[in-house]
Symmetry: D2
Subunit: 379 residues, 4 copies
């Protein structure tokens, strides 16, 4: 048995959603042991959150944590960054500088400059920088990517991707009760992109991950439906790809009745693929003029899907398993890096800092197009 | 029992798809008797097609038919026009001039000027001009419209409509075997809009019919995927509505694997509605934060739905029944007009010549935006 | 154009459900002209119903109608019998005796003896006797049958069939408002079998039609859930087939929330098939260990399906079209019989009087098993 | 933070399916630490399996393990038993005798006598005995139970439960490659019930868990489809409940194309409920005469569902989370028992040894009815 990697966490104190998800994901495949954390900027809260999470070493400050952990023989191997967006870059920088691998929530940063600097730093420090674009951890998303790579769709012509939620359909940020809503609608914490950064980037990444293609130009508009909100809660865009493919992207957090409706459809000259995150155990493949096939997680004969699943056919997996897959792949890569070995092939689908940079370029392009009343701009 | 109306038909000879559909639709509710036709411009074919369809009076020329029928005591009450698009306006004009009601396939005409002239003529002649936007004949589409009118969705914020097919994914028009493909991809017969006119207008009309809203501006692009094709086979557009709502429209005839996938989703402040033409016996209503409800045709307690259905709960209806509904409503209106009575309220959802004009404005706006590299243009 | 067959109808007056369905079905493919009827045993109602339905010759009595029509040069070719069950046999007998073809609603009769006599009479008179087991008119049901015949499922092992409705979940027959409920729960009109005869026989027939197999023995129980009801409203049975296959059949009219949920699943050594009457445009075929395929009506390359459909892919058909298919096939057979020609191959799937006899044997077997506390009895 | 409970495991060595599932489930909510194991009866395999699973103390023999662990200050609090069925009772007995809590795979034992002895022993020793009927860990299964308890369905009339798989459709046990298949089809290891014990008991338990009702009598038959197989691979049964409700149960492991299709439908006087294990994030509630509602995991406002879920709306959970829920509830109960406190109310839905005894009674009843050619026998 390989030693469990020692994991630290910054952010994710009581009341946060994504911190708890990271902890479960890290635990699920038993590759990590969570031993240190700076879970909140409020020292009291940091302490009680760490105790509740069973974390041995609690820090009041993430800078201190980076230094202290780097100095210990049994210091953390890797840190998970689950803070609001504006802290991603400074925290990641501190840990990279300390020689510690990073697993970071998306979006990578709140500006492209920040993101590119991070990418350069990670490379120069030869540390892993994994970005948790969760949905690329689903076995059927990975299988979809493989089908396209293998030419099963022919030439891709049309990409339709959307991500609809309804949790911001009303001004819930004004009540104070919903901590998520407060920071995600505050540009000083979330960055300039609201819905665009929170879920638009997921949609964009999913489409890019599966198709292997990114648009060359886009025409977009942002919108804020809820009066008084200081950030976009809706984005729609048209996409053009270099080889003539076309696409549309829609993301909204005011789509009443939608839970977490991330959906991708890709049409090629020979077939189409459809994936719905809310039914992640199914992938639909429909050939031109033919019968739709429901491909299931454990029955597609695919090494990439098998690598990303744990239970047999008909035993559904979900969001936590997809998230855990990113941690499993990160563990494989960290072990290899730390041993001076090449990164194992089966872990190669892990989202990278470059994916994060691509997401920031997408954000910038959307904002630029929006500012130019929907003109086509380069991504 | 009311007398069956005497129906004539122009177009719809052997090998045509939509002519046979009109004939079944006219027959289904037993309000019409098909007695005359100019089914083909080829006299031989016109004759044999009429014989096959059991039509008593066959004409070689539709102008002759309009004159002859208008002159008979037992001449037709109404003509169904099911020719390629470029003939809609001249044929309709001839029959309106002859005082005969018109039921016409969409798009209304191949130019806005033609369409507006037709609308004016229909009004001045006080004849019915019904346009067969089939999908508005579905009971649940009508119920959806009513739910929105009644405020069940709150204020409409987002409109997502799409219409995907795959029958033109390959250059089938070059083989000659597919007569539909030949004329629908020939601008001299179909008009300037290919996919845009053929199914884009259906998508546009469905959204407008259900929401009661038309966009004030749009940004669009057309595309032709199949090399050598002389007309668009793909259209994508972003929509802005006067009161701040946003929307997207996508129509494609090269979407491999798609059969006749016309889908509408409307999100309001309180709930969303979703309709999929391929499952027309279900309508989905999902409130903000709540459980999706599958409303079924015969169980929604709705007068408009009841008026548009024939069989009990769980006995599915389909496309022909929706089409027949337009004929049923047309019969109700023709009977009223011919009797000098007001048009019955229950028939009021029949698509009109003005809907056809709106569709032509949409076509023009898309082409204008496309020509201006996706600039926002008024509809 | 072939002459339209002259159709008469017995039963189906105002307020009846199935009479109107037969009339639409007869009209849909334009093979019949409804010219005579004895629509109600109440002469006034018969007259007004006939007028409403546009029927030229209305009779107060079906015996009189049989004689009168047989005597006319332009008398009916075929009669549709849509009365309550107890009249099926006497009415059919009268018309067969008069040399008139019969299309009869199911169940064939209210006793096996009656049914067998009818079968013998039809044979001796060489008249068509079609039984309207509607669901066998669906193109995908016919395609399912063909797939099994062709061995696509391997050896059939398991048959699961069910038919659930909820319209009798409450004692609606006691209010008098629901005429259907009144006669269908009255053993003197419906015969000894309630739910068993009304929908159990549909389920039984569907399974037999698709698999080509009938059980050799069954163990069953009937139940009446609604207090005071004089007839079963629920039946459940286990089935054994001669070659070792096993099955279950369930039918209920008190299944709250069910509309018209007739579903069949057949599992063979190589694959399974599933059909849901409420989604009749889809048929599911799933191989052992493989991906489910959604076969659609207009895309299965099958002559039997093509013969039973009217519109292209993605244009849904429904219950009325399935019903119309039986009429279309009946027309083909009547024309052949009347011309002394062999019955056309493409019409061979029309349900016969022998299917009706098989249904009555099933009813008898269920009642016998129920009476013997669920003992296995021969069918 | 509560101390993690120390967990041991018997069975679950390399190549086993359910052992790995138990380990993930135990880890997911961070309540357990796996510290000891006797993972295989083959000492070598036991050792290497334990090393692979990161287990500190590996035993070659489970008897030795029970004694040794009981003797240690830091000995295990609870043992997970994941052996073939014939060892459940002896292993559980040994650990209960040693004062160690037990979490045991189902079926409880291979005979009712064994099972009843275990239940008595667990009671006398005052130790937790949890049985892992996984499917009762799904939040929506628990919510379904609550809806019925709360009367939302009215009086339950009909129970339809089925569990179909296809992994034994062919004689895979003869190849030796599938270790699962080998022991599950060997009566000396699996006990007298094959499919009946393996999945029939899951179906039975799910129906009982959700409805709160067990049948008073049943009529059943077992069948073995695969030639040479020494145990049943198919079971079908009709059920009668004391208050007049009726039901059917079907389980098969030769249902080609089925993955893990456990489905429950319950019809009451007011509504029905439907749950499909393969889509566990949805529960369908359809009122009499009304619209089906899709209830989702995180949006039903239900304390029992909230207790059994970890992520927000639209983030799917699956089988591992359901399994983890049993472990979470077991942890809550063990902590309470060990502290002399009452078991917390929110953990009360954990499956018990008495549920296991009920399952064995069901097995006995099915075998008895089968032996009596399907006669109704008391459960």
């Amino acid at each position: 048995m390989t030693r469990r990697l020692r994991l630290g966490m910054v952010g994710g104190g009581q009341g946060a959603f994504i911190g708890a998800v990271h902890r479960i994901a890290a635990r699920l495949d038993d590759r990590f042991e969570l031993v240190a954390g700076a879970l909140s900027s409020d020292p009291q809260r940091a302490q009680s959150s760490a105790a509740e999470a069973g974390i041995a070493r609690s820090y009041a400050d993430w800078r201190e944590m980076a230094h202290a952990e780097a100095a210990r023989d049994d210091g953390i191997d890797v840190v998970a960054i689950v803070t609001p967006n504006h802290l991603h870059a400074p925290v990641a920088t501190a840990f990279l500088e300390a020689g510690i691998h990073v697993i970071c929530d998306k979006p990578l940063a709140i500006s492209l400059a920040e993101g590119e600097a991070l990418a350069a730093l990670a490379r120069s420090k030869r540390r892993l920088f994994a970005l948790t674009h969760t949905y690329s951890g689903y076995p059927l998303v990975r299988h979809a990517r493989e089908l396209i790579e293998a030419g099963e769709l022919g030439t891709v012509r049309i990409v339709q991707v959307e991500y609809a939620q309804d949790w911001l359909a009303e001004p819930v940020e004004t009540t104070g009760a919903n901590r998520q809503a407060v920071w995600r609608t505050d540009p000083s914490l979330a960055g300039p992109a609201g819905c665009l950064g929170d879920i638009g980037t997921h949609a964009y990444h999913l489409a890019a991950f599966v198709t292997g293609m990114t648009p060359s130009t886009l025409a977009a508009e942002l919108h804020t439906f809820v009066p008084g909100r200081r950030i976009d809660d809706h984005v729609q865009a048209m996409l053009r790809y270099a080889d003539g493919a076309r696409g549309m992207l829609w993301a909204s957090q005011v789509a009443s009745g939608a839970e977490n409706a991330l959906r991708l459809r890709v049409y090629g000259t020979k077939a189409n693929l459809a994936f719905d995150q809310e039914q992640p155990n199914d992938l639909w493949l429909t050939p031109l003029g033919g019968a739709a096939q429901r491909l299931t997680r454990a029955r597609v004969k695919s090494a990439v899907a098998a690598h990303a699943t744990r239970v047999p056919a008909g035993h559904p997996e979900g969001y936590l398993e997809a998230f855990a897959q990113l941690y499993k792949d990160a563990a494989l890569q960290i072990e290899a890096i730390d041993s001076g070995l090449p990164v194992p092939a089966e872990s190669r689908l892990l989202t990278t800092v470059d994916d994060g940079v691509a997401g920031l370029k997408f954000i910038d392009a959307v904002i630029a197009s929006h500012s130019a009343d929907g003109a086509w701009v380069a991504v």
